[in-house]
Symmetry: C3
């Protein structure tokens, strides 16, 4: 979103910058809001706790009201919180750390070489909210590895964690010994050790890489990323002007897109008339039916394989381990909400959170 | 189901009318059943509590048996409860309130005008079981809004709730400012206020409308409904004689179809040889793989968009936010059970409950 | 896997046979491992408890460490456990009882007659881990019933359980009175009684049979099996050399494939170049997106109905009640991991468990 776009927003939306927490800390309505919160059955922890969401589908828990607040004041306080989140989002991301950043390979004798270091870090998934993460090259998701069909690829994995690991190239057709399953295809990469994967990238499409040792925990803590193989014959891809990868997750930091929860998620941006390709990848443990407002999606590939015929939808159900590719024709200007339609993954009484972003067409 | 159909049922099934609770209250086996229940590990609350179901997949919890009951008597008591539920269902719905009722628009200067009032009500989702609901026009689901492709549609929303709201027309292509997302496309509709949505219905199909403010709670409490756009060219729809919308939910009142849980759900009825169109809509937070016994389903549209080619199935997985359209050829007479195949959404030791209905072909 | 294949495995993997529990009981590292376990936040119960997994997506809980263990020793102990599980798996299943075994029908006057007896048994779903099960003919899943399109089929069900039951032939088109729903299409089969189902097998494909009375519990305890109808015209099936049915479950014994949890699951085996047909069936209550490493899947049928066009994938999301058929071309030799990609259904800090197997191509 550029400065021009911001001018199109109601000025009030942009006059105050910062997280919802800043909002509560700094504004005159804090006292009111704090009181109203109790009345409003709000559960701040909802954004972080998967199990609490599973148990509380009505979106909050009731607390006794310590002081009487008028319903109108409570409603107003709730609206202010919703507004603050949206203002923070529209102002653009301001958290530390960006995941899924392209990693340029070194090229030696025609081999594309990537180096991944596994290491514990602190990851800020929303403003002021940090969690211990296990990351590739300090990013959650790890850096995007992108090659072309037919490339020889070498990935050198260095393990600086306190436990063993291994990398599986999910969806990529590799020789068995490069498949990344300890005690089946290789020994585990012990702490302090390295392992080199090498293979020819044979099947184009949207794939992933992630830990395949103690994987519920290791992937859950952030050892995951996108592995994209561009087709030799570009005509096998439908025409598009821009693209965006959306890595869905429900582990580290709760519900996230590309490692961040709303309002720290990055908006997708496009110019009117552009064709946007979206690469959905689910690295979590739950389905996420992704709903884009306003602009239908033409789904053309599953797990990197082109479908025999594309189909249209507005809500695309992405299951763990799946990848789907879709084209959105950005034919209407505006800020189009884009979120998981399991509503408890996307909104609490505090406002939108978690698995929410927007496609901004200008 | 008409009186004639009922005559085809075993007489015993129809001799006693009423809910399972009535059954327990009024019949001679009450004492026996009550004792047997403890032995049978039955959990009455199962039907209402989503989180308990998530935690107890075996369908019940074991309680100490206060008095010895023979296994045969316990089995008999269980069967009686199952039978009572089915009798109640086959006798036809007798709860207060019907959701998803067609709302005739006012027409002014060619514009189809609908008025929706958001208000708190009590909703009876099963006989004698009421919950506080937030409803459009006193119905859960809200009234069906049905227009034709190309119509100019105006929806006037009046908010009589204690908190703000907004309406999103899910799946309907609208101008951005009519998209219903507070602080992005409009201000919230505050308590006592109204907001008017107006747009041209461009994309035919099975769509929805629901709250998009504090939506986990507001949709969870009932602010949802069907929005159907009939195509200008009727030939784009496959041939069918009758149709039925099934709005699936797992929030208000537990597992429901069109706002009611079995045995209060309405049966679908068709005459032998008719083609039935089913419009599935999921307004809940879980998938619901809907299984129709006996008669296969030909699925032809997703989210209102015709598939490139229909596919056949007997179990259709519907994710939150999705809509699917299918044709059932009613080629075999009988009462065909029709239920979510996550069995804990459909049956407990007390008998069938929740997301269960039947297609009765006569 | 034959002896020859085993020779291709690292010798160390095969030198010790037995379950992970045996491993812990019998080897020199037991003391170290036991101590390290506490440090490693390992939760043995994870494999058995669905609800704990739902609540603890990070894969374990932290216990206080009774004695200091170096991180290296803890990592080593964890790896040993992972290795032990894989060794046990590769050595081949050694648990008592095999489900899904073909049941040869008696043939009288051209009618294929199967007898199913429902009875309580103990079922060993992993080495040394037994649960009370309710089974058809002492198997979980029950025996595979396989007939040809056009066959007249008779299934005699004898109920030796302490409660009533009934059998629904899920996906099979039957006359209404053979549909298996007590109080709708038949009386329940009371303890000690029998019921005879008879119908002509009309629609070919991968179907199922299971209890349809108190079904959350009865199916949950094991009353389920495969019902396969081979097409009259074999050309309607895509070419394949071998086939394997995979019945997915998340109830009895936790996460299982064909009634067993890893490492007690049976490997799939194929010779290089063979075409393997997989029949997926979900008899559980959760989705299971099944990910096969290395070899893509060509999905050609849903619920027994051929798709208009097959599609390719590596992760196939199977919802409760669904069946999917896929072809895998075994074009690369090796041991290819094959598991549910909801990682908490497949791996804990103790190693892989539950819904994991492998396709071994030799």
């Amino acid at each position: 979103m550029n400065a021009n776009d911001k001018l199109k927003m109601p000025t009030a939306l942009l006059s105050q910058k910062g997280s919802r927490r800043d909002f509560l800390r700094n504004t005159a309505v804090t006292a009111l809001a704090s009181t109203a919160l109790a009345a409003c059955t709000i559960d701040e922890s909802g954004a972080q706790s998967v199990s609490q969401h599973d148990q509380d589908h009505s979106g909050g828990t009731t607390s006794p009201n310590p002081a009487p607040v008028s319903p109108a004041a409570a409603a107003e306080a709730m609206d202010k919180m919703h507004e603050a989140g949206i203002k923070t989002f529209l102002a653009g991301p301001s958290t530390q750390g960006l995941g899924n950043q392209p990693l340029a390979p070194k090229i030696e004798n025609g081999v594309k070489i990537f180096e991944l270091t596994c290491k514990q870090i602190d990851w800020e998934y929303d403003a002021g909210k940090q969690v211990e993460a296990w990351a590739y090259n300090g990013q959650v998701p790890g850096p995007e590895l992108r090659v072309s069909e037919g490339d020889t690829v070498r990935v050198i994995v260095k393990n600086e964690l306190a436990e063993s690991t291994a990398v599986h190239f999910h969806g990529v057709i590799v020789p068995n010994k490069m498949d990344g399953v300890p005690f089946i295809t290789q020994p585990p990469i012990k702490p302090g050790q390295s392992f080199t994967y090498e293979f020819v990238a044979r099947n184009p499409g949207s794939h992933m890489y992630h830990a395949h040792h103690n994987s519920t925990k290791q992937v859950g803590k952030g050892l995951l990323g996108a592995f994209i193989i561009e087709p030799k014959d570009k005509r096998t891809d439908p025409a598009h002007d821009i693209e965006q990868t959306l890595i869905l997750n429900d582990q580290l930091g709760g519900f996230t897109i590309n490692g961040k929860g709303f309002p720290a998620t990055a908006a997708l941006t496009a110019k009117l008339g552009q064709k946007l390709r979206i690469r959905y990848m689910n690295e979590g443990q739950m389905i996420h039916p992704m709903h884009l407002h306003g602009l239908p999606q033409r789904v053309f590939a599953k797990d990197g394989w082109n479908l025999p015929q594309p189909f249209m939808c507005d809500t695309l159900n992405v299951a763990p381990g799946e990848r789907w590719d879709a084209i959105v024709e950005c034919s209407e200007a505006g800020v189009w909400a884009f979120h998981c339609h399991i509503l408890s993954h996307a909104e609490s009484e505090h406002g939108m959170f978690g698995m929410v972003t927007a496609l901004i067409v200008t």
